[in-house]
């Protein structure tokens, strides 16, 4: 099985996610970038699961999807609360916890 294509996809997705996390100011965009990185990892897991004929990778991905759904729910809720409290979701405006 050719693995180069899915791994390249995964790498590109991860790079896009990292870029998003480090650069985007919008909180929701940050969360979306994190999702990109997680799913890049998922593609990696499935790829190697198929390559090695081992179903554990697939199973782990199912768990990760469930946990990620919960995580996104909490993340979105935090962003909403931030917006209500501070009327902004730009992360570089939220610098209260510093020296």
């Amino acid at each position: 099985m050719p693995v180069a294509a899915p791994l390249l996809l995964s790498a590109l997705m991860f790079a896009a996610g990292v870029y998003g996390v480090l650069v985007r100011r919008h909180g929701v965009m940050l969360l979306m970038s994190v999702e990109l990185m997680i799913n890049a990892a998922n593609i990696n897991l499935i790829t190697f699961s198929q390559l090695l004929r081992d179903p554990v990778g697939n199973i782990v991905v199912l768990f990760i999807l469930a946990v990620t759904a919960a995580e996104v729910g909490i993340g979105i809720a935090i962003v909403m609360m931030l917006y209500r409290q501070r009327s902004t979701v730009a992360v570089d405006d939220l610098q209260l916890m510093k020296w």
């Binding site: 990292v18 996390v21 480090l22 570089d92 939220l94 209260l96 916890m97 510093k98 020296w99």
Partner: protein, 663 residues
């Protein structure tokens, strides 16, 4: 060794008065009666236990000894214990009874005293200390009681310490007895080194078994006797006892009859097994006792102060007891202690009653008191007859036993001294009684009234209150019957006491007759000389006819002057000046000041080191930390994305290292 019985709780006899002391000291003033009832109750209970213990000792005999460990080292074992035999039980009865009667008597005598509560506390401490001494089963515990008795006597003799004379007398008593105690302390040490025990029973059995060297026995016995010489006022340390009259009269009664001066006699009787093993020690005792009894009896004849007559009489009678012990008749000596306790307490309390009424100690100012104070008169006469040795009163039986023992054991010196003393005793008691109770009342209101603070209320003396006369009556009864327990032929007393290794004085009829003749002769002479004597304002003392002897006796044969010149003055002036000026001011203060200055210098150096060195390092670290953290805290920007950059860079680095490591 006997078990069980009331003697198991005999320790209470000593503990009760000691507890009463603490109760009275701390709570006495807040209780009804200002502490006196506590003392009387405690001593009364102790008396009952003592009586039970004596009854038990008489009926079953033997020794009850119990002890607990006090201090223990591999080479040194010290116990705290009781040793209750007939002798100790007899002392319980004597000490508690006299103390009880003295405390009851003091209700009247000390009424309204400025330190009334303290006085009762001290009486109880005194009693408890004496009982600690009596009950002790080892010499160290005995020493504790011994010294406590000494300090109590100091405090009670100086009870009215506002007058310098009284505090001087207290100091004299303390220092004189301490002089003897020095020997006592060394004696205990010598015996411990020689016999390896403090225990009284063990000590005597080791002496009896011959495992202790004769030198140790003799030296130890003589050193212990030195303590007894001080405590029991034997020549040459007798000087404190007459001055001890400065204390309240009931205290004198207590000291003379029960709690202090008998301690020396008791000590010798208690470890008689030790003393009887050394002929040298017994010889020393017999010489000192003989000198003491005659010497003190002579001095008693010339005293004008009624209490001083009795004081010298006590010294003399203690000589009698010691003499009895020295000839081996320990039981006779203890028997005399027993009878003497009753009649001497009686005489002192009687004298106190007289002084209470007349407000003077001087017999030349008394006279004719028999009409004013019938109870005091009758009881005092009974006590005097007992002391003079007239049958059937108590003193006769014990005194005769001693005289007979001295004769049958071949101690001529003691025998002659005892007879001379018996004569002198009868004489001075006849003199005292005649001067005090017969003739006409010589203290006229004008004569001494002006200086007397109570002059308005007694132009004439009157009988003392019931609290004072009741003890007199009880003691008078005991002075009559107290001797019947030791009648020759039926000597129950000897069976009660059980002293080993002794010489029983047999009854010698001609000696008994002789001592009666001597006593009656003394009384007759005293009566003849004083009943007709005329005392006016220019008082004539019949004994003045003796000339130089009389004057020397008045000066106490210069013993006190000798001590004053040889010991007191040099110490007072030269030694104390030397100690103050050189030793204290220069040496001690110099050393103290040098140490002080040195400490200051060291302190300064330490301070410099502390501030410069230690504080510098500590502060330096603090400053460094401050600087570093000031720079470092700038990295905490609060910007999440910068943290994420750091995280990412970190992951990349770690990944690079791992991948590099795989190659």
């Amino acid at each position: 060794m006997v078990s069980g019985g009331i003697r198991e709780i005999a320790w209470l006899v000593a503990v009760l008065p000691l507890s009463a002391f603490f109760l009275i000291v701390f709570f006495g003033k807040r209780t009804p009666g200002a502490g006196a009832p506590i003392g009387i109750l405690a001593t009364g209970s102790a008396f009952l236990i003592g009586l039970g213990s004596f009854a038990d000792a008489i009926s079953r005999g033997g020794i009850v000894e119990r002890s607990i460990t006090w201090i223990s080292f591999p080479s040194f074992h010290l116990e705290l214990g009781i040793r209750v035999d007939g002798l100790a039980s007899m002392m319980f009865v004597v000490v508690c009874l006299v103390s009880l009667l003295v405390q009851i008597y003091s209700l009247g005598y000390m009424h309204g005293d400025i330190r009334y509560t303290w006085y009762y506390a001290m009486l109880n401490l005194f009693t408890g200390s004496m009982l600690t001494l009596v009950i002790a089963n080892n010499l160290v515990q005995l020493l504790v009681g011994w010294e406590l008795v000494g300090i109590c006597s100091y405090l009670l003799i100086g009870h009215w310490f506002e007058e310098k004379e009284n505090s001087d007398a207290a100091i004299k008593a303390f220092l004189t007895t301490r002089t003897g105690d020095l020997g006592f302390d060394i004696g205990i040490f010598v015996l411990f080194v020689g016999a390896h025990t403090f225990n009284i029973g063990q000590l005597q059995s080791r002496v009896a078994s011959g495992s202790v060297s004769t030198t140790v026995i003799t030296v130890g016995a003589i050193l212990l006797f030195a303590g007894a010489v001080g405590k029991s006022a034997q020549f040459p340390l007798h000087v404190w006892l007459p001055d001890a009259m400065a204390g309240p009269t009931p205290v004198s009664a207590l000291i003379h009859a029960a709690t202090m001066v008998t301690a020396g006699v008791y000590l010798v009787a208690r470890i008689f097994g030790l003393f009887s093993a050394s002929h040298a020690a017994l010889a020393v005792i017999s010489v000192i006792a003989s000198i003491t009894m005659v010497f003190a009896a002579v001095l008693a004849c010339v005293q004008r102060d009624i209490k001083r007559v009795l004081a010298y009489s006590t010294v003399s009678q203690l000589g009698y007891m010691m003499a009895a012990l020295s000839v081996g008749a320990a039981t006779a000596g203890v028997f005399h202690l027993w009878t003497h306790a009753f009649f001497k307490a009686l005489l002192f309390l009687g004298a106190g009653s007289v002084i209470h009424a007349v407000h003077s100690n001087d017999m030349h100012e008394m006279g004719g008191l028999r009409r004013f104070m019938p109870v005091t008169y009758a009881t005092f006469i009974i006590g005097s007859l007992a002391l003079a040795g007239v049958p059937p009163f108590a003193g006769f039986w014990s005194k005769d036993e001693i005289v007979a023992a001295a004769y049958t054991s071949g101690h001529k010196l003691v025998f002659v001294a005892a007879l001379v003393t018996a004569f002198l005793t009868a004489f001075y008691m006849a003199r005292a009684c005649t001067l005090t109770f017969f003739g006409s009342y010589r203290r006229l209101p004008i004569a001494g009234g002006a200086t007397d603070e109570h002059h308005h209320e007694h132009d004439l003396p009157h009988e003392s209150p019931r609290s004072m006369t009741t003890p007199l009556l009880i003691l008078a009864a005991l002075s009559i019957v107290g001797g019947f327990v030791g009648i020759p032929g039926h000597n129950a007393f000897a069976g009660w006491i059980h002293l080993g290794a002794e010489h029983h004085g047999e009854f010698v009829p001609w000696i008994a007759v002789l001592s009666i003749v001597v006593a009656v002769g003394g009384i007759a002479l005293g009566w003849r000389m004083y009943s007709g004597a005329q005392f006016g304002f220019g008082i004539v003392e019949p004994l003045e006819r003796l000339g130089a002897v009389y004057r020397a006796a008045l000066r106490r044969f210069y013993v006190d002057d000798f001590y004053l010149a040889v010991f007191v003055r040099p110490v007072q002036y030269r030694l104390s000046a030397f100690v103050y000026n050189i030793l204290d001011q220069k040496v001690v203060d110099g050393a103290v000041n040098a140490v002080g200055k040195g400490t200051v210098l060291v302190g300064r150096a330490v301070r410099a080191t502390d501030e410069g060195g230690v504080d510098g390092v500590v502060n330096g670290f603090a400053r460094l930390t401050d600087k570093l953290s000031f720079g470092l805290r700038r990295t905490q920007t609060g910007n999440v994305q910068r943290y994420a950059v750091g995280l990412f860079v970190g992951v990349v680095v770690v990944a690079a290292v791992l991948i590099g490591g795989l190659r």
